[in-house]
Symmetry: C2
Subunit: 646 residues, 2 copies
């Protein structure tokens, strides 16, 4: 920095150094950036990452800009030009080839020769004498070692080739580099998937006895035929005996009660062991392989909690906090108590050892072929643990996906997504009115939430049988399924949903006789099941890539307050789907579905929807007045789903 | 950081250190913050600064938070508690007592004893045995050196006093500190003022001769009577002779032509000299004092450009870029040329000397009592120069205000405000339709623009006589004045506006026979002038603090597409004003002014408007159906202005 001065009228020294070399460029409002770059935006490998930024400087110099990106731990960085879009907003894009952590930044600089060429053109067009300008141009070329044009006609000096040669030869004037922004790139399953949640021990046919992994394998053809992608298993580890819960979560268990699978750990082992009743590690690996053969993959539950019989209490007493009376407090959320569980102390003296042990549990299962983990209650464990652990695991296998099961305050749920969870449970399970569903899906698909929070819409869970399904009406189950599977590209059902299981503990949103506390068998083909409905919609999802995105949703105007309508189109513009769903009530509904304002097709060639084709019946309808009159009889089918034509 | 580990099942070292002590708090979405803290938000001394942030952590610990602030170069920092508002959003406020640069940050931490108290209360309410809990409480008190309650009854342990004692005694658990954010605090004139722009040499009564500062002093009672706060003088420095411009910007001047005041510098001196025809430095200081006596202050033009006769060309040839033929390029924006001006080279070898010299010019005038500078064309000079220069000057006198005269691309104009300009010229001068005026004022009063960009609405300037005023209709002049003076708390007129001067160079938005290029005299009381209208509205502004804010504007629904309606209320809620203006056309207009949804009054006690009182006639009207039917006849008065009552 040049601090020399000759002006001496006041002899006042500057308080701050004179920043004569400070950057003249402003690079701001960069997209996609979360919390100023503290957290990564999330993208999918093989899909283009569009980057936008305001780039400008004082004065009138010609500006050039580059988007520079690299994979963490990967090859050298790559660079691609950014182009001016409008109003000082610039755009560039790159395609991350494989999952991993990436970073990008922006470089902007001035091109003095291009500026000179632009001004020369204006002078020539205004008929001005440009002889001194040409002398200046000659000097610039000489300085950069570029050969001047052979002809001295002004036009020769305007040649684009000359400009390009100078772009390469000139130093980049006023070069400014933006901060480096992180990006988390995952495999396609992080974006789209249909989850089927099971309790492994309930997959058999012998009452009062645990099923085995082989029983699970026998169930796969049926589950795959329904069109699911992910088989999610509740914890499969040995279950403690101390304070074991009885049926319906009672404090005392009867002999033969199997206990809650969340009371992890017994003499038979802890988080890296398998409940002996289910089989061996080899049996589990066979299940993983069998799933793969059926086009599915296994997701495991990761619940950081221990039964009082977990080996860690003996091997690592220092990982637990002892109370003044020498006891370890069981898990609780005062006044609620979980007597069969104790929690580790994430800030014990050997915290580092504990955190690594927890990471190693995940890595252990990754080595058994598991690449999806549903994490139980992550909001009660330190944010920094998740950020560190997920990054460690994804360094070993960037394809590992973590689903956050945090039903808590909205900002805490979003923070977990920022700290690294690929997907998140949502409030969808309890949203039933058109207005609240519309508001919620709008929030999830708006900036900035859509950049880091990927919803996974579960219709039910082992813990939640919502009020609106306790009547057991088929149209209600179908409507909730249709909403989950079309609003969100990732969704899940808990087994039994397809059988319309709906008996609650009276007055609670919980299942009566939950398989969490007892052995269960089911007739998986019980009359009245909605498996064909599920299979058909999962098939439609696979055939229509528009449904395998969430952020492309646009709500349509439907003039009925119990019918939700929306349009999704695929990123490449090749596919668009319109959906209308009766969200409440069994009464038939007639309504006008307005397409006004919704264009479809590839960017740069988007057109209004002109006709739709029913994806179930194949019937075609031409739109009139920008919309169409439709009728839903929920007792028949609460959903209409169409391919859009333009 | 504890990196010790005992778990050895995999012996895999962590790729990243285990962050067992990393912050568990998230502090995000802090308000007011510009560009993540790169630039200061702007506030006014003596007015409360409200700070908002999302603050939360994992788990269920009780959280406390503080807002910590200090004045740069001032006393030690001060701290004030932040309170939880809702949904993990927290709020705190402080009042910066005087102008200057401030900074603030947020601290958040957990209170283990408050957490223990909260849980104890829940346990007691649930009828649980709490003896072990009380032992834990005793341990916490002992560790913090706080005396336990004398009675052992559980209630004694819930006493707020005990919690407060522990708050003071306990270390702050999990303390997290946000980044430090800057704040630029200015005096009230930065927020509100009525500017009157003059060419000093035209303030006299002798045709063909320059007026003097004494002539200006003689004009002050008239200007003050119109209610202006700021007397803004076009450049008052010696004017060059080389390439002097003639009348109407002609390339050749006639003998006796005074030249453009922007061709600064001659043998008589440069930017720190006064044109001899205007008077001496003492005369100037007398003008500054006389303004003060009339409740006004002087603003000077700061134009970083030189006539070819400026002393710097001789004393500091190194500050100018010489062309291959030895000449210095005159100012231009190809193909436009400014033959009577040359520009300094901000990146010359002695850039630091030049930048300091420019700063010293401003400081020179500050020492003569000038505390407002209107800066000519700042967007063609380096952003870092402005940021540095303004900070340097405001360190010497934090009351100095800089107005950016940048009519350029929107993001560049906003960037200049971010880099430190207190106020900015705007596009208001050309916005004439209700829809575009509404859109523009909405943009200016929305986050984030409102936090750093303070508009100064000029109806005309010496360079701009917009089309819509070239007809000279009094209603048009009044409407534009009313819009400027009520939409924006800071606005200005260029002298002659009050006389309805409107003769253009045909086909251009420029004044014919502009005083920029010739001596001018005027009849300041010319019949048909709108001085009473101006004086009345400036009086209403002073009497109604709601009009001395810009960001408090809420557009009202007015069912006439040429009438704009809005409501402003003062920050303390003590004053609210409703305005309706006919923005175009002389035809009478009847319309319904809807107040629906606009509440007024102090925060926490806001109520709907129920009646309005005409601030000109005193007439009172009670609202019906949430609004009122009004009539404007622009040829009489294009504005209706009311005090709102609730």
């Amino acid at each position: 920095m040049n601090l020399q001065r000759r002006y001496s009228s006041t002899e006042k020294k500057p308080v701050s150094p004179v920043p004569v070399s400070a950057p003249q460029y402003v690079i701001e409002d960069v997209y996609p950036v979360i919390n100023g770059g503290r957290f990564p935006a999330k993208r999918i490998a093989g899909e283009a990452v569009g980057v936008w930024a305001d780039i400008f400087r004082d004065g009138t110099e010609v500006t050039l800009a580059s988007l520079v990106w690299r994979r963490e731990g990967g090859a050298a960085s790559q660079s691609t030009p950014m182009l001016h879009h409008e109003n000082d907003r610039w755009h560039g894009r790159f395609v991350p080839p494989e999952p991993g952590r990436y970073s990008f930044h922006i470089e902007a600089w001035s091109d003095p020769f291009a500026t000179w060429q632009r001004d020369l053109r204006r002078r020539i067009e205004a008929g001005q004498d440009v002889s001194v300008e040409l002398d200046e141009g000659r000097l610039m070329l000489a300085e950069a070692g570029v050969r001047p044009p052979e002809q001295d006609a002004p036009d020769a000096w305007l040649a684009p080739e000359l400009g390009e040669a100078m772009q390469r030869a000139q130093p980049r004037g006023n070069l400014v580099t933006s901060p480096v922004f992180p990006l988390m790139v995952e495999r396609v399953r992080a974006r789209a998937g249909a989850w089927y949640e099971i309790m492994a021990r309930s997959q058999g046919q012998v009452p009062g006895r645990s099923a085995t992994f082989d029983d699970c394998i026998a169930r796969l053809p049926d589950i795959a035929a329904m069109g699911f992608d992910v088989l999610y298993l509740l914890p499969i580890h040995p279950i403690g005996r101390t304070a074991r819960k009885g049926r319906n979560n009672s404090l005392t268990s009867e002999p033969g009660d199997p206990g809650s699978p969340y009371a992890i750990g017994s003499a038979e082992g802890g988080h890296d062991a398998i409940h002996p009743e289910l089989g061996t590690l080899d049996d589990f690996r066979r299940l993983v392989s069998a799933c793969r053969e059926h086009g599915m993959e296994v997701a495991l539950d990761f619940a950081v909690q221990c039964s009082p019989d977990h080996p860690w209490l003996r091997e690592h007493p220092e990982w637990f906090r002892h109370r003044p009376d020498g006891s370890i407090r069981y898990a609780e959320n005062p006044p609620k108590k979980y007597e069969d569980i104790v929690n580790v102390d994430f800030h014990c003296k050997d915290a580092a050892g504990l955190w690594m042990a927890l990471r190693d549990i995940v890595l252990f299962w990754v080595r058994q072929g598991v690449r999806i983990f549903r994490v139980d209650n992550p909001h009660t464990k330190p944010f920094p643990f998740w950020e560190w652990m997920i990054a460690e695991v994804q360094r070993e296998d960037p394809g590992v996906i973590f689903l956050s099961e945090a039903f808590t305050r909205p900002k805490v749920m979003k923070a977990l997504a920022k700290f690294g969870f690929s997907q998140s449970y949502t409030y969808f399970t309890w949203r039933t009115h058109k207005a609240e569903l519309s508001e919620y899906i709008s929030e999830l698909t708006s900036f900035p939430t859509r950049e880091f929070f990927r919803p996974n819409f579960f219709v039910t869970t082992p813990d939640i049988l919502p009020w609106h399904l306790q009547g057991g009406e088929p149209w209600a189950f179908k409507a909730r399924f249709a909403l989950a599977a079309t609003l969100s590209s990732t969704y899940g059902i808990y087994n039994g949903f397809e059988l319309l299981e709906h008996e609650p503990i009276p007055g609670k949103e919980e299942y009566l006789n939950s398989e969490k506390y007892e052995y269960r068998t089911r007739d998986w083909n019980r009359p009245g099941n909605i498996k064909p409905f599920i299979a058909r919609l999962n098939r439609i999802r696979r055939e229509n890539p528009a449904l395998l995105q969430t952020n492309n949703l646009r709500l349509a105007q439907v003039d009925h307050d119990r019918v939700m309508g929306f349009v999704k189109d695929s990123v490449d513009g090749s596919n668009a789907v319109a959906v209308a769903i009766s969200v409440e009530g069994s009464e038939p509904k007639e309504f006008w579905f307005h397409f006004g304002g919704i264009d479809i097709g590839p960017v740069g060639n988007r057109k209004p929807v002109t006709a739709i084709e029913n994806l179930v019946t194949g019937a075609r309808h031409t739109l009139e007045w920008g919309g169409i009159r439709l009728r839903i009889d929920p007792t028949d089918d609460p959903m209409l789903i169409f391919r859009c034509l333009s």
